[in-house]
Amino acid sequence: MQNCNFVPQGENVLKITEALKITQSTPVNAHPFCVVLACGFTPLHLQTFLSAHLQQSLPNRKVVVAPGLYGTLAETLEATSDAAIDGIAVALEWSDLDARLDFRSAGSWGRSAAAEIVANAQAMLDRLAAAIARVPSGVRVVLSLPTLPLPPLFHTPGWQASEEELHLESKIFRFAAAVTQSARATVINVRRLLEVSSPGPHFDLKSHLHTGLPYTTPHADRVASQLALALVPPAPKKGIISDLDDTLWNGIAGEVGPENVSWDMASHSHLHGLYQKLLASLSEHGTLVGIASKNDPKVVARVFEREDILLRPEQVFPLEVNWNAKSGSVSRILGTWNIAADSVIFVDNSPMELAEVAAVHPGIECVLFPKNDYAAGLAMLRQLRDACGKQRVSSDDALRLESIRQGAAFRVQAAAAATPESFLAQAEAIVTFDFGCAAEPRVLELVNKTNQFNLNGRRFSTADWRSLTSQPDAVVLSASYEDKFGPLGTIAVVAGAVHGKRLAIETWVMSCRAFARRIEQQTLKMLFASTGAEEVDFDFVHTAKNGPLQEFFAAVTGEQPTAQLRLRRAQFDGSCPALYHAVRELRRAEAHG
């Protein structure tokens, strides 16, 4: 259980000895993960720490970090045209913008220098932005902004910001905003980086002058950890399950009445209001929010009817409000969401309730709501944002909660229908297959986060995915689904290659939200039809979580799937049930040249 001791992600502090041992323990024959380190200074420990942090994140890969030459950050970026690399880490410092900002430079700090430096900085930032734009698409670029102090060359005393310093800061942030907006680079939050860095100095002048590395050893570790985090970000949590009384609001609704629970400044309960605002924001960005509360459902409904509530009822689903054990409520919510406990955070103000849920749902992250501790409250809000934050928000994220709500309605009506066939026939379902989807971020995201209907559990770096989907005769398609209950968005991805009359499938995933709609059969039908294949070989691997996929293959073939899984067209046609979807195709002609 976590009790508000906020540990920012990447706060795994290493010493140089540990880092060296980690880099030396690389699996010998592992697939390499290649990163270019672009920095204008001697990389030294930054390279070692970056290798170590990446290696920790990718224990089955052989991490290789290749630095550019000293003083050539822009040239290193411009020379990176190899689409096979997995990422580029850019550690930008002031000295990269103008040599006079480098303590090792003999350049003048005279009166005219400041204005020239500002002009040169703009030119260099334009050059860097152009170089980043030319990096092959799919190669992840991560960028840390200057973390070190500017040299004391400006006319103001150090406690006063000079106009030129402010111009430099402004240019840096405009550059960072531009590369972020264009989605060409992920920019490290420099304020967070300095916060998680050691409390001592970050700049080591002696090391800089003697060795060319300006960072203190702990600061090199912190910069490296944040760059590694951006290069290999952890999967965000998919949902938050929250308690209500003394958590989502202050007070016990059943005792004080629904009109008297509070979350506002006047009642000194605004921490609950901040928590509601955060949940509302997360919900808008695709994080599922559910409620598990021991309470009277009628009382709770009246609180959610209040006009001043900040977490709107439509942003929450489902609400499990009853007097039974919370672990049971959590089970039902996980069932409705169809996700595993380890993808979810449970927030409650009661350590006992947290312990009860944790005991029944191993892997769930339990967070204590710190009712009267504001510092801990702020830490909790940041912890939740860190755990659920996304690098980019897709249109599918906005659909998620609504599609789950509709999925529940789908299941209720399916159960009530005269027959499953009549229900599916009347669902007005449309499946849209997109053959030109390989470069869509949502497609790789779906491949890398789907567990239950997943052919082999394989995850891909951007470079690996590009390599797979750009091979000769590659076939990549995604499926989107909607029916009379609403759209589910992009819910399935298949990738493989055609070899004559044989189709070899290397990846097949489908979101659990799309189960029970025969989309998997429609997908196979489309694959046979669009490729002309007579048989399909599946690169199947049994995983701990891909039971639903195994059940599907067992139903189609009549036996449990094995590593050499082959399906013939006639075999599929003989087992395929009636399909009622309208089918649409996108970009098939483009994909097939």
Binding site: I16, T17, L20, K21, Q24, L44, H45, T48, H210
Partner: protein, 80 residues
């Protein structure tokens, strides 16, 4: 070899994983190809980790063999 020497040998194994244990006591910049300027700096940091002391970059050029580093550390630890 004394305790300082054994701990220093451990540092050498971290920085030069390909160096055989028997070669460590006689190791120097002349005999170890991988002992370049970068390795020398990394060695100082590994020694700092192991012995919980601050090494001075001014000493870098002089500390070019296992024996010299060993002697340097013995003096530093005696003073401490």
């Amino acid at each position: 070899m004394d305790d300082t020497g054994r701990r220093l040998a451990g540092c050498f194994q971290v920085v030069f994983p390909n160096l055989r244990e028997a070669e460590i006591p006689s190791a120097s910049q002349q005999t170890v190809a991988a002992w370049d300027s970068v390795a020398a700096i990394i060695m100082m940091n590994v020694i700092e980790d192991e012995f919980a002391l601050q090494m001075d970059l001014d000493d870098l050029a002089d500390l070019d063999s296992f024996a010299k580093i060993h002697t340097h550390l013995q003096k530093r630890l005696q003073v401490a």
